[in-house]
């Protein structure tokens, strides 16, 4: 008797089906190609593409937490932008303390300063996420209307408290020495910081994919997205799992805030709510709750905004709306809709 007889038969998806699921993957290169044809000049295109990817990565960092929280617990957090802002302010405060380190010519000390700033802001926003979940979000599970209202209220309060603590004025801070300026590849100019942002974003995406797909916690989170009650019935405390995801999402928003702040070199109390517009567009394009879709959506939005800003500066934000409408007309639930077991 051979093993083959009892081996389960696994249906292979037909070519058409697998094309259907993979089709969104082709969108990013397609957009880059269209951008190249529209711009026409190779060095400009490289600069813009790297800028677009960097922006997309930063938006992905901020959006991934939001989309996971929605997928897992059906909670949409309109106050997510507050974590971005708080993260940026904490990061900038730490960097201001370490002014001696950031002006040092050594890249290692520079990166240590940035790393410490990121660590501090992630710790603060993670804790803030804990407080936010317990006091503001927990009492309104199950009611979307109240969630939207209450988290919006939380955003207002957080924004005002930031003004109370750090004052109403915008804060400027230049990037550490080693991260200023650009590399020159042939004739193309690539800012160093953007390259760093792309690297950090990619590492984060890979780490997240690994955790979600290869670890037990990831398995529980994915199972929770599909059917929370079942996970609970199997003896796992989904509430605690959710709290963990919420805190991670908030910490990631803080990380995104520091990176975005260093990218712009200026932060204001309203930066969070401004960037939330892009984050929401990305989450909608990707499909509410889907991390992979969120990644593709972020790349698309980042690239398109930069191409559009170059080609027709006045319509940069409008172009992303057009992209969102186009995607929704193709797939009304977003690129990768999350299937909930009912």
């Amino acid at each position: 008797m051979s093993d083959a007889a009892i081996r389960p038969k696994i249906e292979r998806a037909s070519l058409a089906e697998s094309l259907k699921t993979r089709a969104p993957l082709a969108l990013v290169p397609a957009l880059a190609l269209v951008g190249f044809l529209a711009i026409g000049s190779f060095p400009t295109w490289v600069t813009l593409t790297v800028a677009g990817l960097a922006m997309g990565m930063m938006i992905f960092i901020m959006a991934s937490g939001l989309t996971l929280v929605f997928g897992l617990m059906d909670v949409i957090n309109f106050g997510h932008g507050a974590f971005v802002t708080v993260g940026a302010f904490v990061g900038f405060t730490v960097l201001a303390w370490l002014a001696g380190w950031t002006s040092d010519p050594s890249i290692l000390i520079n990166l240590t300063a940035v790393f410490l700033a990121i660590l501090a802001s992630m710790a603060v926003t993670g804790l803030l996420g804990y407080a936010f979940e317990r006091t503001i979000v927990m009492p309104v599970y199950g009611s979307h209307l109240k969630q939207i209202l209450v988290t919006m209220g939380g955003l207002i309060i957080a924004q005002q408290l930031i003004i109370v603590i750090w004052g109403p004025d915008a804060i400027h801070l230049s990037r550490p020495e080693a991260l200023q300026g650009s590399f020159i590849f042939g004739t193309a100019l690539v800012e160093k910081y953007r390259l760093l942002a792309v690297v950090v974003g990619l590492i984060l995406f890979l780490a997240m994919s690994y955790v979600l797909n290869r670890t037990k916690i990831g398995l529980l989170v994915r199972a929770g997205v599909e059917n929370g009650e079942m996970v609970e019935a199997l003896g796992y405390r989904i509430g605690r799992l959710f709290l963990g995801v919420f805190m991670t999402g908030s910490a990631l928003a803080g990380l995104g805030g520091v990176m975005w702040g260093l990218y712009q070199e200026t932060i204001t109390a309203h930066m969070g709510s401004e960037i939330m517009v892009l984050v929401f567009i990305v989450v909608i394009i990707g499909g509410l709750g889907s991390v992979g879709g969120c990644f593709i959506g972020a790349m698309l939005v980042g690239l398109l905004s930069n191409y559009a800003a170059f080609l027709m500066p006045k319509f940069a934000l409008v172009s992303t709306i057009v992209l969102m409408v186009a995607v929704l007309m193709w797939r009304p639930q977003g690129l990768y809709p999350v299937v909930k077991a009912k």
């Binding site: 949409i76 309104v140 209202l149 209220g153 003004i163 929401f280 319509f315 934000l317 409008v318 969102m324």
Partner: protein, 353 residues
């Protein structure tokens, strides 16, 4: 007669009836009761915001849809009038053309947004409207050749409404009978009519279906109402009403700019007014708008005084700085969503029932 005007939807509690009547009388005789530019300015703002907030309540309170694009429709109405007057000159025809154009554009846009985002999920709608509204605001401030950009548009209004126009010699109860007075009553009467129309709307069979959709969309669908159609209709109607409120504010201020019509701050103000006043009742809009604007105008002075009085204590003066009043409103907002989801009006009505 009164019951018919109110479409059979009486305030329902003696205290509420007295408060609403007091607000009505105060607004009706505001120029005589509280002479002075600032108080008349406040009264007109209250009239306009009652319409705006009531139209938002049509969506949030009655249909259970959260939209963040309400200021966009408000702004479309205002810019419609502003552009029409800039092009055609100061005449009533221009106001009419601007108003009709603005309302039509607002309705069309609401229809489009509703059709492609209301089918999926209510939460989708909130996010889509947020994105579209902010893109619209950016677009308006960047197309400065047409819209005046961040500076907005200043324009003249028909000369009947100008403060310099004398309607009659002499004074009535010590108030000059000038164009400004006429303009106030124009705003007041329009706001009153629009409010009564909305009251009629929500107490019609159509309004009843909206409430059914809010309570249980699935069941409403099962009974045979097409939920998407009703949700979209509510969106379109509330957009039209918001645009009309925008027309009123454009005529009243003689100025239209992003800060007075499109900004996200106003959207948050509207949200606070609806929730604090009471979702799901038109009277909530009256009370919410009145309280909020009175607080906005007069409470900040009080907070400034308190902030100075406590200047020796650390942090406290920063917390009660007049600029921080939104902080306390935010706290009040969160608490009222938790503990009084029906707002002030719901509390008052609940007690008498």
């Amino acid at each position: 007669m009164i019951s018919k005007l109110l479409s059979g939807d009486r305030p329902g509690s003696p205290i509420l009836a007295i408060v609403v009547l007091a607000i009505f009388l105060a607004l009706a005789f505001a120029p005589f009761l509280f002479p002075g530019t600032r108080s008349v300015e406040t009264a007109a703002r209250i009239c306009i915001f009652i319409v705006l907030v009531a139209s938002y309540d049509l969506l949030l309170g009655y249909t259970g849809i959260v939209s963040f694009a309400h200021t966009m429709f408000f702004g479309i109405g205002a810019y419609g009038v502003a552009l029409a007057i800039t092009v055609m000159g100061a005449s009533f025809a221009a106001i009419l053309v601007g108003a009709v154009g603005g309302v039509l554009v607002a309705m069309l846009l609401a229809l489009l947004i509703g059709l492609f985002s209301l089918r999926v999920k209510a939460i989708f709608f909130a996010m889509v409207t947020l994105a579209v509204a902010s893109a619209f605001a950016v677009l308006v401030s960047q197309m400065s050749a047409i819209t005046g950009g961040e500076d907005g548009l200043n324009y003249a209004i028909p000369s009947v409404f100008k403060p310099a126009t004398k309607l009659m010699d002499g004074r009535l109860f010590g108030v000059r009978l000038d164009g400004k007075l006429l303009l106030y009553y124009f705003v007041f009467v329009c706001a009153l009519i629009l409010f009564l129309v909305m009251l009629r709307m929500v107490n019609s069979p159509f309004g009843r279906v909206l409430k059914a959709v809010r309570e249980n969309a699935f069941r409403a669908e099962a009974i045979g109402y097409r939920v998407v159609v009703y949700r979209t209709a509510a969106t379109v109607l509330s957009a039209a009403m918001a645009a009309l409120a925008g027309v009123l504010i454009a005529v009243w201020l003689r100025y239209t700019g992003p800060a007075t019509t499109l900004s996200f701050e106003i959207m948050i103000d509207i949200l606070l007014m609806v929730v604090i006043g009471g979702m799901g009742t038109m009277y909530g809009a009256v009370i919410g708008a009145t309280l909020f604007i009175l607080a906005q105008t007069y409470l900040q002075t009080l907070m400034g005084a308190a902030s100075e009085a406590t200047s020796s204590i650390p942090l406290l003066p920063h917390l009660i700085d007049p600029g921080r009043w939104l902080l306390w409103l935010g706290v009040l907002f969160v608490l009222s969503v938790y503990f009084f989801p029906t707002g002030i009006v719901g509390r008052l009505r609940g007690r008498s029932a």
